[in-house]
Amino acid sequence: MKKRKSFKSFFQSFFADIKKNPDALKSAIMSFFIMGLGQLRNKQKSKAAIFFLILVIFVLFEFLTGSYTYAPREMMRYPADPGSTIYFIRDYGGFILSGLWGLFTLGKVPGGTMYRGQFVETFNRVIPWLTADNSVTLLGVGLIALILTAIFLSFWVYNIRDAYVSRKAELAGEEIETGMAYVKRLWTDMFPYIILIPTLIMILFFTLIPFLFSFLLAFTNYTYRIPIPNRLIQWVGFDTFKLIVGDAGWLSIFGQVLGWTFLYAIMASATCYILGMIQALIIESKYVKIKKLWRTILIIPWAVPAMITLMVFKNVFDTAGLANQLLYATGSMEQVSTFLFNIGLQGAIDNPIFWLTRVYNGPLAKAIIILVNLWLGSPYFMMLITGVLTTLPKDLYEAASIDGASKWQSFRNITLPLILRATLPAIIMTFTFNFNNFGAIYFLTGGGPDWPRELVPTSMRIMGGIPGQTDILISWIYKLSFDNNAQLYNVAAVYSILIFAFVGFVSVYNLSKSKGLWEED
């Protein structure tokens, strides 16, 4: 309610302001139609020139990338098919207009059909409009066109606002900035943006646009069943979401994957943290000599590249691997296998143990993943906490021991809270990292073992993209996108959006909470 009111009052004051300054409104309206015209009226020539130039560049870009000049002749020569129309913007529009058209329609003319009396090919070098519409390309190009348009529109809005505000200031008798002074100020003001432009372009093209593109796929029907460009993909709104939520089988598999993703992310972070803390406390304690040696040994796993570690462990837990060999060598294979069966990790008493493969060994594979992750990840926290331990204030402990606190008490009440507070952001960061820790699953188990067949819903068996028992969301998304016969891009995109929303929320919260990062000096 409160927000609405302030919104309303914003509009009220906005219109009241306009009513009071009809002359300034006139400048704004002039700039509305032609960029820079209002500024010219305000006698700011250089500023007017800049805005006008932006308009000219934008219009010229559209015109020169299009083929408007060919249009009249060709429309006479190749008229529309009876009962159908000519898609003028598609055939002759420039980058911006045809891009927006493509984004909106995802194409109208698939390959192998007749259009304007001609045969549409996958690629036609001579007549561009006889090239088939490739919906995926159109979506990508359209996205770029949309972003360029948005940039242009923000200049346009700025130009209108500027015309209004400058005129108002001038009428109020304030000294108005000359156009030249404005250009100079612009250069210094803009310097940060100018230095950032290369970075922004890189991130825009190689991170942001690809992500946006993936998200948009969620609202289409794009799967491997659509042979592009001979068929078109379509906007289907929330149909994919409905399919996933509406099908009980999908929902239950999704629930299990999501549950395991959370369990994995929490367990992986918590175990690494606890073990890392224990190692750090022991090494830093007064009972241990040659601290540097121990630290160096225990840091080794962190120095080995993770991908290599994971693949090595895939071999360690192979049926012929180190784990089983050790069990045989020590003669404890039978006991261990029985034990794993009794605590429910193994589905049968095997000899040798199938650590990562058998259908009934899902829980065992999950336990192994967490253990391997512990091997990989605990040195990080060990180093982090060692660092924190060296900064702990000594006088606190002295005061505590004078007050008669036991060692355990001073650990519980001083050391632990201080460590926790200093490392909390790192814990959350590790959690979000593990939530998306694709490699830990892909290189170790590849998502296996499979689900028992009776648990897989029929719809999933038909469509493909069945996750394994150890797949977390991100590795399932990979399977959904790139497994042969499972390229359900739209379903993958829906889950991507989900992950993005969740992980994005947690990390924004985490980053914006930590004050040290933002304070300006």
Binding site: P192, F211, I283, A303, V304, P305, D318, Y380, R421, V508
Partner: protein, 289 residues
């Protein structure tokens, strides 16, 4: 007498814990080394204890001489090594350039939307690049970059700008601002301040991000696997191929161990030398004080 006894007990406990940890850490690695020098392709044939009589350089011979296509100038592995090296060098240059300029803007300049921009960048880098891979593939196809290893550096660079920017920014903020101000009074432009005053002072962090950037392409797999044909494969793809049981021609876990050792050892050495900076990188993510 009692406290003495607990001291002894605790030190025994501590040492036994550390010894067990050290064994758990070292055994898989020693086994890996042992496997790398064992002939054949059976994991079960790898001796648990080093056995000089079964020492073999078979896998290294394969690594340095096998050509899947006789016309290749280089053997498979060295070829993959050279391609990865090229990506790594390009990535290093790109990352150093972009993160220094961007880090400078975020550390020293005032502009609108600074916090949100940094936050957006930090969030974007939380996601693996394959989430946008369909689009990246399209982009690469449109520009004719597919199957050209060097262009992958573009994606790696873009992906690692945010975190490295964050590091450079943190490092620069510890340099007193009075230095810049003095230079500005003497008439230095912002770019001159960056080049002549700040750059010499941030060399350590540039060294760190350059080395991280250099190491990244050796260990990323998915992009290289999807964007390059087998004849242009990289080290990571080579390694993965040897551990993929469905790849009957190349599957050989022992060969994998041999190749992995070749890559892991230099990286481990670098990591150990970079430890100090690593800790800095880690803790800068944590809250100050």
């Amino acid at each position: 007498m009692k406290p003495k006894f607990t001291d002894v007990l605790l030190s025994i406990l501590s040492y036994s814990w550390l010894i067990i940890s050290a064994v758990v850490v070292l055994v898989p690695l020693l086994w890996m080394i042992s496997a790398a020098f064992t002939s054949g392709k059976l994991l079960s044939g790898v001796p648990l204890f080093p056995d000089p009589s079964r020492f073999s350089l078979e896998h290294y011979q394969f690594i340095f001489s096998y050509r899947s296509n006789p016309a290749q100038a280089l053997a498979d592995f060295p070829g993959a090594f050279v391609r990865t090296l090229q990506i790594a060098i390009l990535n290093t240059i790109g990352v150093a350039f972009f993160s220094v300029t961007t880090g400078y803007a975020f550390a020293r300049l005032r502009f609108k939307g600074k916090k949100n921009m940094l936050l957006t960048m930090m969030v974007l880098q939380m996601f693996p690049s394959f989430m946008g891979m369909v689009a990246l593939f399209l982009l690469f196809r449109t520009f004719g970059f597919l199957n050209k290893p060097n262009y992958l550096a573009l994606i790696y660079t873009a992906g690692s700008i945010p975190y490295n920017t964050f590091l450079v920014r943190g490092f620069m903020r510890n340099i007193p601002k009075s230095l810049d101000e003095a230079a500005a009074i003497d008439g230095a432009s912002p770019l001159q301040i960056l080049r002549m005053i700040l750059f010499p002072l941030i060399v350590p962090i540039i060294g760190f991000i350059s080395i991280s950037a250099f190491m990244a392409p050796w260990l990323d797999f998915i992009l290289q696997y999807r964007f390059l044909q087998p004849e242009r494969m990289t080290v990571a793809v080579w390694l993965f191929r040897t551990t993929d049981p469905f790849n009957t021609l190349f599957y050989n876990p022992l060969r994998f161990m041999a190749g992995a050792l070749l890559i892991a050892i230099p990286i481990m050495i670098i990591q150990f030398f970079m430890q100090r900076y690593m800790v800095y990188g880690l803790t800068s993510g944590a809250e100050k004080g």
